[in-house]
């Protein structure tokens, strides 16, 4: 049992944790009456340096998100660390008592990212927290705070540490004792967000599921690149939820056209959709995020006009994908139709409507559909198909499937195509006037 010799200044209120060589005690400062946490560790313990390390890591921060370190003391046998007492309940306890909303989940997730971002962007060098779990996240007056920096290290020293961390929360490379960088904290943050999701009303949210999947990728190379990126993605998600509530105007909306397979007519449908809206006097811009479709159109299309990064041709408006050696232009304001090709999960996080293009051709069938296909804002178009295959698909997928007409004229928008888009967007009252 460790013997605490700071009775002259601190009154012990409660022992929170105790072992042979360590103690975490809630104390009251005798003169000012403030509650504080006192951590004590025997100098004989092999982990004795952890208290000094924690104090050293936290001393440079001046943030309300992290606990304040007041004092580091020692006597002949024990090191003492006196830090701020964060009065609240842990995230684990909080989630045991209630099911949280998606709003609250994302708010907490952004706050967690902000704390980790602060550590990763520390002035001297990045600090790896390495022990992210719901028990170390304290909810205090509706805000999240992080405690216990006992195993945190500066990035340059991470090579010297042994395999450690809490199984099920720590990144696999951390438990194996491999090379560590900021991405190991991203993994643990992803796990915490997943834990929150399982105790929330957002269990089926595909966008959130995708973010978690990227953050907790076992292979570090496939993992979300930085905590700032994860935070940015969460803010986008929060923004899109806000927009749903505020009823964002059509000019700020983004429609993604995604193909179930290659060569299913994604680009043609996206271009036609852009023409459809422009014919109805809704400023709409086509954008290809994978290829340089608009640049190729410019090369081959006579009578097309270029103006401030936009290609104009009849009712088509396309955003040119310029490289670095072209003068920069401000993106145009208007509805955006984004041609995503086959795989475009990142962009799907920030779009309002998804047009999912499948094909009726037998050799272009897919066996597994994405989980988000059943979402309310996803519309399915069956290209190169007939009525029977479209009805079969609708039964298989459990939602309406719009049969796309066979196109004879590749350039002009046909009446049949217009009918399909009208049928889809009559559900979205902002679009069809």
């Amino acid at each position: 049992m460790i013997n605490i010799n700071l009775d002259d200044r601190y009154e012990v209120i409660k022992t929170l944790q105790q072992s042979a060589a360590t103690a975490v005690v809630l104390v009251r400062h005798k003169k000012i009456g403030a509650l504080r946490i006192l951590k004590a560790i025997s100098k004989a313990s092999p982990d004795a340096h952890s208290i000094l390390s924690e104090a050293h890591l936290l001393q440079g921060f001046n943030s309300t998100l992290l606990p304040t370190i007041y004092e580091v003391e020692e006597d002949d046998e024990v090191y003492y660390l006196i830090e701020e007492y964060i009065d609240g309940i842990s995230l684990r306890e909080y989630l045991l008592s209630k099911v949280i909303t998606k709003d609250e989940l994302i708010k907490f997730a952004i706050e967690i990212c902000s704390i980790v971002e602060l550590l990763h962007k520390a002035e001297k060098e990045p600090i790896l927290y390495l022990d992210m779990k719901p028990d170390h996240l304290i909810i205090q007056q509706g805000r999240i705070r992080l405690i216990d920096f006992g195993i945190s290290v500066e990035k340059s020293k991470s090579r010297q540490i042994k395999p450690h961390g809490t199984p099920n929360w720590a990144a696999p490379e951390q438990l194996r004792g491999d090379f560590l960088d900021e991405r190991c904290d991203i993994y643990a943050v992803g796990k915490v967000i997943d834990f929150m999701r399982s105790n929330s009303y957002a269990k089926d949210d595909f966008k959130l599921a995708y973010l978690i999947e990227k953050a907790t990728a076992e292979n570090v190379e496939f993992r979300t690149k930085s905590i700032s990126l994860l935070k940015e993605q969460l803010i986008t998600l929060q923004g899109s939820m806000g927009n749903e509530k505020l009823r964002k105007k059509h000019l700020e909306k983004r429609i993604a056209v995604v193909g179930a397979n290659t060569s299913v007519g994604t680009t043609h449908i996206a271009i036609s959709l852009c023409k459809f809206f422009n014919k109805r006097k809704i400023d709409t811009y086509y954008q290809d995020i994978r290829e340089n479709t608009v640049n190729h159109i410019w090369k081959s299309m006579k009578g097309a006009r270029l103006e401030e990064g936009v290609l104009y041709h009849d009712s088509f408006r396309g955003i040119m994908n310029y490289g670095d050696a072209i003068e920069k232009h401000r993106p145009p304001v208007g509805l955006r139709v984004i041609d995503c090709g086959k795989e475009a999960m990142d962009i799907l996080l920030s779009v309002d409507i998804i047009i999912y293009v499948i094909s009726g051709r037998p050799w272009q069938q897919v066996m597994i559909y994405p989980p988000w296909i059943k979402e309310k804002n996803v519309y399915i178009i069956n290209n190169f198909s007939n009525k029977i295959t479209s009805i079969k698909k609708a039964k298989e997928l459990g939602k309406r499937v719009y049969m796309y007409p066979l196109i004879k004229n590749q350039v002009d928008l046909s009446k049949e195509e217009e009918r399909v888009f009208t049928a889809i967007f009559k559900n979205e009252k902002d679009y069809i006037k």
Binding site: N292, N295, K299, L306, E307, E308, G309, M320, N321, Y322, G323, D324, A325, I326, E327
Partner: protein, 183 residues
């Protein structure tokens, strides 16, 4: 691309063309600066890459090879795919071998009264009766209608005008049509 005399904008226009291909047409482009001493290394040399088995540099989407080795240039022309813009600098007997291997040949001159003689002399000495004049694009720096007519009467081929470009590393849309016409 070469010029009849120094300081006529051969490098400037070569860079504009290469940047246009890379940033507007979004095609692969290699820029070869064939000179004893590179004038571009300080600008484009920060990001080193390998092009085949050679060391090159990447800047704003264009791959740069800075060399004075004619055999190496000939090999690159034979092996690499995509657009290759060669800034020949001065045309002499050895660089002429590289010019011969290029599919499109551009020669820049000026028809200003004090530079006209250089243009004629260059053509008579290096080009006339050595190359099919139809395979070469002759360009003048500043538009001169009389010069164009005189050129056509003398050599039987057209004299093109170089587009007015402010900065080859920050092209404007108004330049695109002229640059596209060159291609």
């Amino acid at each position: 691309m070469t010029a009849v005399s120094p300081k006529l904008g051969c490098t400037f226009f070569s860079l504009a063309l290469a940047n246009f291909i890379a940033s507007c047409l979004r095609e692969n482009v290699i820029y070869i600066e064939l000179k004893e001493e590179s004038s571009l290394l300080g600008l484009v040399g920060e990001n080193q890459i390998s092009i085949g088995q050679r060391i090159g540099y990447s800047y704003k989407g264009v791959k740069y090879i800075l060399t004075n080795d004619i055999e190496e240039v000939a090999e690159i022309l034979a092996r690499e795919r995509g657009y290759i813009v060669v800034d020949l600098g001065v045309l002499n007997s050895s660089t002429a071998a590289v010019l011969n291997k290029c599919k499109n040949k551009i020669i820049i001159g000026s028809f200003m009264p004090w530079q006209r003689r250089d243009f004629h002399e260059f053509i008579r000495k290096n080009i006339y009766k050595k190359y099919d004049m139809e395979t070469i694009h002759f360009c003048q720096l500043c538009r001169d209608k009389k010069g164009e007519q005189f050129f056509y009467k003398t050599y039987g081929c057209r004299l093109f005008n170089l587009p007015k470009i402010d900065n080859p590393f920050s092209l404007k849309e108004e330049n695109f049509e002229d640059l596209m016409n060159f291609l």
